[in-house]
């Protein structure tokens, strides 16, 4: 078969149902809530703009005339009558915002306004932290974030900026940080941070080694999941192929109730782990994915290619998965094999019961 046919076959396994009316209603409610919150911020901004415009009008109408013994009064510089009062852009709400091809994650408590968007994007960060994923820029196009003290201009693609105390953390690519008061510039590359007026290399930013795995395991067992997650993240940044750390992260995420993160971590063990590690990870991922029989079939079929103490349970799960996809014949074949291979055990008896 050609790769096109295989691709089509794979594509057929990656389908999804249409949203239900309930889901659609929930989305509409979200859209309404979003619209409402945007309206409130716009009204506040409109209110200030109207007040500014009214002040400007009053200043024009009641400006005193100059006389030989009179006095003169000039409106404050900000209420310039020659220029219309520009509306201050609304602050962006907490969450993810798509600015054309760029993406901006606004953290809780952050206050950021888009002064200009498009090929040249300028944002002003008044408080908190934002993280930006920026598309490639060419020529004079720039993406920059201004704070009261510094301006960060993107050369690369992903970074976060905190207003106070000012700091920049670059995840991908390179940014240029410029201090407003004297124009000094620093180039901050991926993995580096700009803190306290200096660039910190990854080594400097991590003076202590990551905690040992047994210590992290104890934390997980004792329920200190956040600290354990931080430690595991640190370990995995040092060595992304550390299968034991990925396994512990998977167990942690399952304990924390985040099934997707757990499955993703188990799948990483499958990719980076040794055969025994990968085997165990396939079984664990299949266990968590019981509502996705297609994926369970793939995982457990691979799992059963090598003998494993959990092979019996895996065969029962595989039979269930085939049954869930409507392939009764294959389900029966797997049960028959389970009954034969595990005769005299509880697995064998269970398989025989299901065959009846």
């Amino acid at each position: 078969m050609s790769w096109e046919t295989d691709l089509q076959d794979w594509g057929d396994t990656r389908t999804a149902p249409a949203p239900t009316p309930d889901e659609a209603a929930a989305l509409v409610a979200k859209a309404r809530a979003r619209k409402h919150s945007l309206l409130i911020t716009r009204r506040v901004t409109m209110g200030s703009t109207m007040a500014l415009a009214a002040a400007a009008l009053l200043a024009i109408l009641f400006q005193p005339k100059l006389g030989p013994t009179g006095w003169t009064w000039s409106p404050p510089h900000r209420v310039a009558t020659t220029e219309p009062a520009a509306a201050e852009p609304s602050p962006m709400l907490e969450g993810t915002h798509q600015l054309q091809d760029d993406q901006l994650q606004v953290d809780a408590g952050a206050s950021v306004v888009a002064l200009r968007t498009g090929p040249t994007t300028r944002l002003r960060l008044d408080a908190g932290t934002v993280t930006a994923t920026v598309s490639h820029r060419t020529g004079s196009e720039t993406f920059s974030i201004e704070t009261t003290s510094h301006t960060v201009t993107v050369i690369g693609t992903e970074f976060s900026v905190q207003q106070s105390p000012f700091s920049v953390r670059v995840t991908r690519g390179t940014v240029v940080v410029e201090r407003s008061e004297d124009g000094s510039q620093w180039r901050v590359s991926a993995g580096e941070s700009f803190i306290n007026g200096a660039v910190e290399r990854p080594v400097l930013s991590r003076p202590t080694p990551p905690p040992a795995l047994p210590a992290l395991q104890t934390m997980v067992l004792e329920g200190d999941l956040e600290t354990a997650r931080d430690g595991l993240t640190q370990r995995l940044q040092d060595d992304p192929t550390d299968a034991a750390a990925w396994r512990l992260l998977a167990q942690l995420e399952e304990r924390a109730g985040d099934r997707n993160a757990a499955v993703e971590a188990w799948m990483t063990v499958v990719r980076v782990g040794s055969t025994p590690h990968a085997q165990g990870a396939r079984y664990e991922a299949a266990r968590l994915l019981s509502d996705q029989p297609d994926r369970v079939i793939l995982l457990l079929t691979d799992f059963l290619k090598v003998d494993h103490p959990l092979a019996g349970e895996a065969r029962l799960r595989l039979a269930d998965a085939y049954a869930a996809t409507g392939d009764a014949e294959q389900s029966r074949a797997v049960l028959e094999e389970a009954a034969k291979r595990h005769a005299g055990t509880s697995i064998g008896r269970k398989a025989r019961r299901q065959l009846r």
């Binding site: 999804a16 149902p17 009316p21 509409v28 798509q98 091809d101 990719r271 290619k305 797997v334």
Partner: protein, 185 residues
């Protein structure tokens, strides 16, 4: 449920006009109409994504669609426009994930041993896995055009419009993606 989702006969243009008039209830019928397409595309663009992730992406695509309404010109089909947003969302999500740990996925050769099921089923499963791994290895830009063209049936012109790139760029990416897929077999 509510009246928000009971306008299946309204055309896309009518629903978009209602959205532009500030009536978010028109989003419901569009979500029901195109939600499955968007979810499916999210699953295909990111082979590591699961249904819950695809659902999250789908919701954010429709909410972002409201933001892009002023720029939506109805030059092409609404589905293509939504696919453009979906593609950008999936790419952003993958970047976040990749950047967290910088894992370079390896092909993970299948182990030899006792197979379960018939030879044809084994062959099919292996082929699916091989395709998934080959897709994972493709650069985002190439995978996107390959999926949109071969699995979603979009023309070069539609893809160019959805991704806001030239038709030449689409053709080049498609050519490179096909060549890589062919070489991976």
């Amino acid at each position: 449920m509510t009246d928000v989702c009971t306008a299946p006969t309204d055309s896309d243009a009518e629903l978009v006009a209602r959205l532009r008039a500030g009536r978010p209830d028109a989003l419901g019928p569009l979500y029901i109409r195109y939600g499955a397409d968007v979810r499916r595309l999210a699953l295909r663009l990111d082979p590591a994504a699961d249904p819950a992730t695809a659902d999250d992406i789908c919701q954010s695509v429709f909410l972002l669609f409201l933001d892009t309404l002023p720029r939506y010109e109805e030059r092409g089909r609404l589905r293509s426009w939504l696919f453009g947003i979906t593609t950008r969302q999936c790419r952003a999500r993958r970047r976040r994930w990749w950047n967290r740990f910088r894992i370079h996925r390896s092909s993970g050769a299948a182990s030899a041993g006792v197979a379960v099921g018939s030879a044809s089923i084994d062959r099919r499963l292996e082929a699916r896995q091989a395709v998934e791994q080959a897709l994972e290895r493709l650069p985002d830009a190439q995978r996107e055009v390959l999926v949109l063209h071969h699995l979603e049936g979009m023309s070069i012109q539609e893809i160019a419009l959805a991704l806001d790139i030239s038709e030449n760029a689409v053709s080049t990416r498609l050519y490179r993606a096909r060549r890589t897929m062919e070489a991976d077999r």
